[in-house]
Symmetry: D2
Subunit: 290 residues, 4 copies
Amino acid sequence: MTQIVSFIGLGAMGYRMAAHLPKHFSKVLVWNRTSNKAEEHATTYGTQAVTLQEAVQADIIFSCLPTSADVEHLIQPLTIKSGAIWVDCTSGVPESAKKLEVQLKEKNVAYLDAPVSGQTIGAENATLTFMVGGNIETFEKALPAMQALGKLIKHVGDSGAGFAVKAVNNMLMAVHLCAACEGASTLKSHGVNLQEAFECINASSGQSTVTSSVLPQRIFNRSFPNTFALPLLAKDTGIALDLVQNAKLSAPVIAASQSLIQAASNLVEPNSDFSTVAKMYEMLNKVTIE
Amino acid sequence: MTQIVSFIGLGAMGYRMAAHLPKHFSKVLVWNRTSNKAEEHATTYGTQAVTLQEAVQADIIFSCLPTSADVEHLIQPLTIKSGAIWVDCTSGVPESAKKLEVQLKEKNVAYLDAPVSGQTIGAENATLTFMVGGNIETFEKALPAMQALGKLIKHVGDSGAGFAVKAVNNMLMAVHLCAACEGASTLKSHGVNLQEAFECINASSGQSTVTSSVLPQRIFNRSFPNTFALPLLAKDTGIALDLVQNAKLSAPVIAASQSLIQAASNLVEPNSDFSTVAKMYEMLNKVTIE
Amino acid sequence: MTQIVSFIGLGAMGYRMAAHLPKHFSKVLVWNRTSNKAEEHATTYGTQAVTLQEAVQADIIFSCLPTSADVEHLIQPLTIKSGAIWVDCTSGVPESAKKLEVQLKEKNVAYLDAPVSGQTIGAENATLTFMVGGNIETFEKALPAMQALGKLIKHVGDSGAGFAVKAVNNMLMAVHLCAACEGASTLKSHGVNLQEAFECINASSGQSTVTSSVLPQRIFNRSFPNTFALPLLAKDTGIALDLVQNAKLSAPVIAASQSLIQAASNLVEPNSDFSTVAKMYEMLNKVTIE
Amino acid sequence: MTQIVSFIGLGAMGYRMAAHLPKHFSKVLVWNRTSNKAEEHATTYGTQAVTLQEAVQADIIFSCLPTSADVEHLIQPLTIKSGAIWVDCTSGVPESAKKLEVQLKEKNVAYLDAPVSGQTIGAENATLTFMVGGNIETFEKALPAMQALGKLIKHVGDSGAGFAVKAVNNMLMAVHLCAACEGASTLKSHGVNLQEAFECINASSGQSTVTSSVLPQRIFNRSFPNTFALPLLAKDTGIALDLVQNAKLSAPVIAASQSLIQAASNLVEPNSDFSTVAKMYEMLNKVTIE
C-alpha cells in the first residue's frame, strides 16, 4: 500500500526529521508557517511544499510544534482526511493529548502523542527515541513511519503517556542539571580540579547524561551552544510539576528544581540554551563553573 | 625496591581490595577489628594477619573504615613507620583529611585521602575509581599500589579534595535517586508503563546511573539488595552539605535532597540498602514504584 | 429596600455564618445537601429551609462549599434570579471565579469570590475576614450583607483576587507550619524546653500565628482538634502553587512546603486536622514535638 | 551586695543595652574595640571606659559581639575574675557555648549563652527578650542584671540552648521572609492589591511578624533600612541548619530557605538589610514587591 506522509512544523527538529521520509515514502508533503522554509526543504530533500489544508490529507501526518497550544490552535479549523493518523512529536501536555484524541476520533482521525528525544543530531541521523502514547493498534500502524526517523520507539501507555514520559525525562534532566551545577560549584570552591573530579564521577554512581555530556560540552568550555532553549525546558518542567500535582503527589526535589529552572529562564536572555542555568548559579554563588 | 603494603579494615570493600595486593607485592599485611576475618583473608589470599601496630610498619598503609572519626581514633595511639604513606580509602570528611595530613606529617608520614567508587563488584575486579587528594609526589609514589586495586585513578586536588569529590558524587547519586523515585511515581500514577518509560529515558537526556542501574536492578524488581547502607549515604550527603555551607554557597536541590535522604534513613530499618529511599516515597505517595 | 438573602452550604462555617443573617435581613433562605441540617438551622435561627431552586431567587446568595468544582457543578443547572449577587465564600480557584463571573454575567447575575478566614470561632462571632475579588460596585452592594458576618472586609482586586489571597494566606500558614515543626524538632533534639523557647520566639521576629496559636493549642498539647481538614489545606496549597506556575514564577519555599503538606495529607487519616502535619515530621525525624 | 558590671562590645545593640546599666549598678565598665566609642558611652551614660583586662574583673560581664569566633578569640588570652559570670549576648553557636562553659569553669568563671531579640528599639527601651542557656543557679544570679536590659527573660535549657533558640528564631524569620516574598510576588503577578491583601492575611492564619512588620515597614515602602545585615542572618540560618544536621533531622523547608538566604546574601551589597532578600526575588521573578 502506498501511503502519503506529511510533516507539519519544520523547526530545528522537524526540518531534519522530515528529510528522511522521502527515502521510505513516495509522496511526502511538508508545511511550515514561514513557507520559504518548506520550499527550501522540498528543493533539498525531494518533499513537496503544500498548504496546511493539503498537508492534512495525508495518511500519516507528523507535527512538531513548540507547544500543545500551538497544535490545538492549528488543528481547530482543519478538515483532516478521514482515516488518517496524526503523530504529534511536540513536547506537549498530556491533558491536551487526551482531549485531541477524543476530538479527532469524532472525525475518524487517530491521534498519537509521540514526542522524541535525541536532539538535532538524533534527528539528523534518524536515531531519535519516540515515546508514544495512545491506542496500541494505531501505534502499530504508524510504527514504520516512526522507524524512518528514530531508533528506539516505545509504546508507553494510553493517550498522554508519551507526553508524560517526555516531560518527566526533561524534568529529570533539569534536576540533574541543577545538581551538577551545585556540586561543581561546591568542588570548585574547595579548590578541586573540576575536569578530573567529573572524570571520576562519570565513572561512578553520580554519573548522569548531564555530568558526562552537558557539563563538559556546554558548560566547562563556556560554549552554551543554542540548541534547546531554556524557556522550553522551563515549560516542560512545568508540565511535569502539573502531573505531580494532578496526582496529588509529593515530589520535593522536582518541585525545588522546577523553581530554579523557572528562575533561570526568567533571568537569562530569551532563547539562551538550557545549559545557561549554570550562569544563574554562578551569579547566586559567585563561583565560575569551569 | 621491595615494598611492604598493609590493609586496615576488611569490610565488604576492604576484604576484596586487599585480595589483589599479593599479586603485586611480596609482603602484604592485613588487620581487622574482628581478627578472625583477617586470618581468613590470610589463609585465602596469602596475606599475613598482624597486629594493628605491626600493620602500620608497612611502606604503604591502606585503610578503609566506615567514617573519618574511626580513622582518627584508630591512628591516634599508633607509632607509624617513618616515611610511610597512608592511603585512606574511607569515604571521609575533607576537614579530617587536612587535619590528619598535618598531624601525620609531623611524624614523617604522608597521608592521602583516596576514597573509591565502584562498589563491591569493582573491588572484586580491581576496577575501582580512586579520587585522590593530597601531595602530588606522594600520590605518584602510591600510584602503583592503587593501580593494583583500581582502574581510573585521579589526583583531584590538595588534601581533602578526594573526600570532597566522593561526597559530591554520592550527593549527586542521592539527588538522582530522589528525582528518579519522584519521576517514576508520577508516571505510575498516570498509568504509564515504567519499564518502557525508563527504557526511553535511559536513551535520552534524563538518564543517570540511577535510572539505568539502580531503578531496574534494585527497585523495580523489589530486590533492594543490601550492599550500601542508607545511613552511610545519609552520612555522605551530610558531608556534601557541610561543604556547601562552609563555602557559603546556595545549593537548594542538594539541600532538599539531603533532607529527604536523612528522612528515609531515619525511617527505614537500620542497614537497609540505599535504594530503600524508594520505600519512603511509596509511603508518602501511596504509589508503588514498580 | 428589603432584600432576600440566602445561604447555600451549611457546613461547619456556613451553619454559623448563616445564623447571623436573620438579625439583619427579614427573609433568609437556607439550603444544604442534607436537608435536615437546613431544617434544624431554620428552627434554631429563624431562617427558612428551601429548595435549591428557591434559594437562588434571593437578592444576595451566599455559598460556602468545599471546592470550586462543587460550586460550578451546583450552579450549572440553576436558573438564578436576574439581578442577584452571588457571594461565593468557598476557598476556591481563581480561574473558576473568572469563569463563573463571565458565565453568570450572561444571565445578569453578578459574582464575587469572597472567601473568609477566622475559622469556626470567627464565623460564630461574626468576626470573619472577607477577601473579595470582582467588580467594585457589586462589592459595595454586597458589603452590608458581608458586614453581617465579618469584621474586616476588603476588596482585593478583580475576579479571582479573593480566592488568590485566600490561597496565598493558607499557603503561608502551611509554610509556617512546616517551619515551626522543623524548628521545634530541632530544638527538642538539642534538649531545649519547647514551651519556654516558643514563648521567646513569640516575642521575637520568628513569631507567626502558627507559632503563637497552632503550636500551643493544637500540637504541644497533643489535641489536634479536628476543625480544618488537612486535605483541604493540601488543596489550597495546590491552588497557590498553580498561581505560582501560571505566572511563571520561582517560589522554592512555597513549592517545597506544598510537597510536604501533600505528603502529610497522603499519610494521615482522612479528615485529620491540618495540625497533624506535625505527626508526619515526628515520623520522619523520630522526635516528638511537645 | 554591690556588684560591678561590665559590657564588652558597643555595637548597635551593645551601646544601647549598656546605657541602662548605670540606673541599676553603681559601677559599670565598658569596653569596645574602637575605644572612642567606649569613651563617648562613658561621657553620655556615666559608665567607665576601661581596658579589656580591667573589664573582665567585673562580677557580671556582658558581651555582645558579631560571632562566637569573636568571643572565643577575645576570651582566650584574658585572666577573668574568679567567680565572675559571663553573660554572652552574641547570636552565637551552641557548640561554642558548650566549649566556653567548660573552659571558663576551669577558671571558676560561669558562662551563660544569653542572646537577645527585639532589635535596637528593644535595646533602647530595655524591652529585649533574653533566651538563656546554662546552669540554672548561674541564670538566677545573673537575672537582675539581665532584667535591667530586657523584659522577657527565659532559661531555655543547658549550655547552648539559648544560642539554639536564637538561631531557630532567626531561621523561622528567614523562612517567613522567603515565603512572604514568594506569596507577595504571586499575588502581584495576578493583579492583586498587596496592601489590601496583606491586611487580610495579617488578620488571618497566614500572619507572621514578617508579614505584619517587615513587609509594610521595610519592603512595600522600599526603605530597606539597614538595621540587621543580611550576612548576619545568613550566618544565623547556617547555625540553625548545622543544628538540624547534627541531630540527623530532615528539615526540607529550613534547608531550602537557608539556601535562598545564602544566595541573597551572596548577591546583594555587603551590609544590606536582611529585608533585601526581596530584591533577590524581584530579580528572579521580574516582579516588584510593592
